[in-house]
């Protein structure tokens, strides 16, 4: 392989300068002339029928310029993907406490607050479902829209179910020497992007159309939703992405609602409208990582071979579907972990409840099941008195293996490499032995105990067999010879603008400083599907590479004409094109000559992901075209007097293929692990009878700089044939194994398996939750107060 000029070399993020100077503009930073401020009236009840909405008094308040409800949208503003069950403002019913019912735009905060108070909204409370375990009971109140006996929905609140089927695990489990039979639970997790949801809409002259500035996972989805729910033509809607202050999967459905609300308010008022959610409103209104109940039976023979896995999961989707069917499908595919079995059955039920609602969040279903299966596998190893690292190495997927889905894997499988490398860099064997020796002495209360744990990971790349998977990029050379690059995929901090810039630079041999990568704008970029499922580097990167290769062909054609030689005789040195007579011509000369030849220096490239297929009936197929593999080791120190866990070290090795943007990939791993550490130890969105208990960062704790150790991350750069320059994805995989590695280390330190996340003080210390007294109901919903 030839030496690369830009890929894998130290590079700065293309947008870092604006961000450190404080000049990068986020949605909330737009202050336009005549701009109105807006807010929603949200449901104070978790489940209720909307009996009456009367805004006549509120409209009389001076300064109030527009008030809208579901009646102001086409088809009541119904939207959603893959299941259409949501509204831009609630229609007929509210399904969670915080569901938006009315949106108001006013001159200032005072008139806005007065209007929210003057609104008359009559709700008739309905019984709710709050425990997902009871959602499918025959007497459970119906939350979804289908009757109990509807075709395809035979069990009332069942939203959808998925299976994996490989042989018969019951028969195999009966013959196993060790079977772990346990239930594990995870709770809702908040994305906690530091920038809350916000959007600004600007109506066009004569209210003929609207431009919206908003950070979201996909401006194209936002536009398509606006076209459908506002009844506008595609060319009358423009969505521009300003800088986005973090997303992690969280700026999808809630943002599409916010975008539609401000767009409609702006069209009604004929003035720009801005809505920015307060932190409290953000926590109440936005979707979360789904909570899951997971029952596992995993069996092995006494010589340490995994034999069978049986899984039943219940996914709490809350009041709406959002993207939870995709999340649950990913849970289903990954539930057995990256191991070989003789038999495996997976059953996942997705149910409606009235606990907020769930949607996409980094790891997207794998984060949940990886925590549980990695603990189950760890449990088997410990019951067999085997080293957990050895046990994983013995059973993990290798090149050419066939998975429980019936997928024959390629040569890119690098889990063994990841496990062996993380074993080495963490000094696993010595530390493990040292702590084992220390644990032989009896513990006295208050003593510190150390432990070390491991977790392995596979993570299907991009969307999988859920739909057509493609991305599109465009590139043009401007009059001043700079290049403008677009992608339909978003950079909300993940670094894809830098990655795509480097791919163009490397492909064309042009310095990255010449390339300007635009942020997504539905008028300049082309739809590439949503920026989710860690698809940017591979999907967007390949589309960018195709686009750049087309441009390279144009420039080489011009260079060949200029140098009077065939293309094959040209070689490149930096930005120089050199012909057989060694006389170099510059990039500028080539571009100028291309123009003289009449070549159009503008290219579009599309990349389609390789085919996947999945049979939902037989529970087998090829769910993803490839997988990312990784392994992490965590070391903890537990205070046996208080249950406090300090994570003292984390080592991570990921099979990322070629590293394109070193600073960025490290940031993805460090940041992912930190979110995983929060998931393991402190993050917990509690719903009590549908009422959220944590509405700001004083109650919803995320890791601070003092909660995270210095992390060591390394990469297995085995080039991936289907990736741009051999790269794989990274964003989600960095997070997924962190929590199980930490809870396995807690087990090593204390002998206690934490089967319910998070591993908070009482669970670590006494193995159960302390009972809470009193009602938590009304206290948190300060929705309509100033």
């Amino acid at each position: 392989m030839t030496e690369k000029q830009f890929i894998g070399k130290p590079t700065n993020r293309v947008d870092a300068l604006e961000k450190v100077m404080g000049t990068a503009r986020f949605s909330c930073d737009y202050y336009l002339p005549d701009m109105l401020v807006a807010r929603c009236y949200r449901s104070p009840l978790p489940h209720a029928r909307i009996k009456l909405i009367d805004s006549s008094e509120a409209l009389k308040i001076p300064g109030v310029k527009a008030i809208i409800t579901s009646e102001d949208f086409e088809n009541h503003g119904r939207f959603g993907f893959p299941i259409v069950d949501m509204y831009m403002l609630a229609y007929a019913r509210v399904r969670f406490a915080g569901d938006p019912i009315v949106a108001v735009a006013a001159e200032d905060e005072d008139s806005l607050q007065a209007a929210l108070k003057a609104l008359v909204v009559e709700l008739e409370p309905l019984p709710g479902v709050f425990d997902p375990r009871n959602a499918l009971d025959s007497d459970a109140p119906l939350i979804g829209e289908n009757p109990r006996d509807a075709e395809g929905h035979p069990r009332g609140n069942l939203l959808i179910d998925y299976i994996v089927r490989q042989a018969d695990p019951d028969t195999v489990l009966a013959k196993c020497d060790v079977v772990v039979d346990d239930e594990y639970t995870t709770m809702h997790q908040e994305h906690a992007y530091i920038e809350t949801e916000g959007a600004v809409a600007v109506p066009w002259s004569g209210n003929s159309g609207v431009t919206v500035y908003a950070g979201c996972q996909s401006p194209f989805n936002a536009r398509d939703n606006l076209v459908r729910t506002l009844g506008l033509a595609e060319e009358d809607v423009r969505v521009i992405q300003p800088y986005v202050g973090g997303a992690f999967g969280g700026k999808d459905d809630t943002m599409y609602q916010t975008i539609a609300q401000v767009a409609k308010l702006a069209l009604v008022a004929g003035r720009p409208v801005k809505m920015v959610l307060s932190r409290e409103e953000s926590l109440i209104a936005s979707y979360k990582r789904d909570a899951m109940v997971m029952k596992y039976k995993v069996g092995a023979s006494k010589d340490g071979i995994l034999k069978a896995c049986k899984f039943h999961g219940i996914v709490d989707s809350g009041g709406y579907s959002a993207i939870t069917p995709f999340t649950a499908w990913r849970s289903t595919i990954h539930a057995m972990g990256p191991y070989r079995y003789e038999a495996c059955h997976v059953d996942t039920d997705v149910v409606y409840t009235n606990n907020g609602y769930a949607g996409a969040f980094r790891g997207f279903g794998n984060t949940e099941v990886c925590y549980a299966i990695e603990m189950a596998v760890d449990d088997i190893a410990s019951q067999l008195h085997l080293d957990p690292m050895d046990f994983r190495l013995k059973n993990c997927l290798r090149p050419g293996d066939t998975t429980s889905h019936g997928q024959k894997l390629g040569e890119d499988v690098a889990l063994v490499d990841c496990l062996e490398q993380v074993r080495r860099i963490s000094d696993w064997d010595n530390r493990r032995k040292l702590y084992d020796r220390e644990h032989q002495a009896p513990t006295s209360q208050g003593e510190f105990r150390q432990g070390i744990g491991v977790a392995a990971l596979f993570h299907g790349m991009s969307l999988g067999a859920e739909g057509k998977d493609f991305a599109v990029g465009t590139l043009r050379i401007n009059d001043d010879n700079t290049l403008t690059l677009t992608s339909g995929l978003t950079d909300y901090g993940n670094g894809s603008r830098t990655v795509f810039t480097l791919i163009v630079a490397e492909t064309l041999g042009i310095h990255p400083d010449r390339i300007k990568m635009l942020r997504p704008d539905t008028n300049t970029a082309m739809n590439s599907g949503p920026t989710v499922a860690s698809r940017a580097t591979v999907l967007g990167g390949n589309a960018t590479r195709v686009t750049a290769m087309r441009m390279d062909t144009l420039l080489l054609t011009a260079a060949a004409d200029l140098l009077g030689c065939p293309i094959v005789n040209i070689h490149r040195n930096g930005e120089m094109y050199i012909g057989p007579d060694e006389e170099p011509v510059t990039y500028e000369q080539v571009v100028e000559h291309a123009r003289e030849m009449g070549l159009v220096l503008s290219t579009i490239g599309r990349w389609n992901a390789p085919e996947n297929h999945w049979s939902f009936e037989s529970g087998s197929g090829k769910p993803y075209f490839a997988y990312h593999y990784g392994a992490q080791v965590a070391e903890v120190q537990v205070d046996t007097g208080t249950g406090k866990v300090e994570v003292t070290n984390i080592w991570a090795v990921h099979n990322t293929g070629t590293v394109i943007f070193p600073q960025g990939i490290l940031g993805q791993v460090y940041g992912g692990i930190t979110q995983g550490l929060g998931y393991a130890l402190m993050e917990r969105v509690d719903y009590d009878q549908g009422y959220i208990q944590t509405t700001n960062f004083d109650e919803y704790l995320i890791p601070t700089a003092l909660d995270v150790p210095d992390i060591t991350a390394e990469f297995v750069e085995k080039p991936f044939a289907d990736g741009p320059f051999g790269a794989k994805n990274i964003a989600e995989p960095g997070m997924v194994p962190a929590a199980p590695a930490i809870v396995n280390a807690i087990f090593h330190a204390t002998g206690r398996r934490i089967k319910n996340l998070p591993a908070n003080l009482e669970r670590v210390l006494i193995g159960k939750d302390l009972r809470k007294e009193g009602s938590n109901k009304a206290c948190k919903l300060g929705l309509h107060q100033e």
Binding site: A24, G667, D710
Partner: protein, 159 residues
Amino acid sequence: MKFELTVNGVRQSSEAPADISLLHFLRDNLRMTGTKEGCNVGECGACSVLLDGKLVNSCLVLAAQANGREVITIEGIHAPDGGPNDLQQAFIEYGAVQCGYCTPGMVLAGEALLNSNPKPTRLEIREAIAGNLCRCTGYQQIVDAIEAAAIHRQEAGHD
């Protein structure tokens, strides 16, 4: 109520409600949007500014409390030529920036630390930024950047 305060060395006066926070005064009245709102309860540090040289959450300070005093925001942090100063340059080079929303507050927390402790250990850096939440980076590259800037300033001081 009329407010008069010095922001980044420039005297600013503006009419605003008496109960306005310094954060909202900076953003809504002075349109200095580099200072961000993240929680409005003093937990996240996105609104960090220096008040008479001391790091504060501007959402918890009334503009009235800052009256007649000196405020430094991110707009006031730069090299003499208007470009990034050494700390900001270190943030760029060490990958301390992802989405960028917490970055202005982080830079100010770093400046406040380096003003009071020119030779911080990594633990002292972590303590100094513990009031500033970042959801993207896992903090490590921010610690790297502040450490590098500290070394740079020590070396520059010895020249």
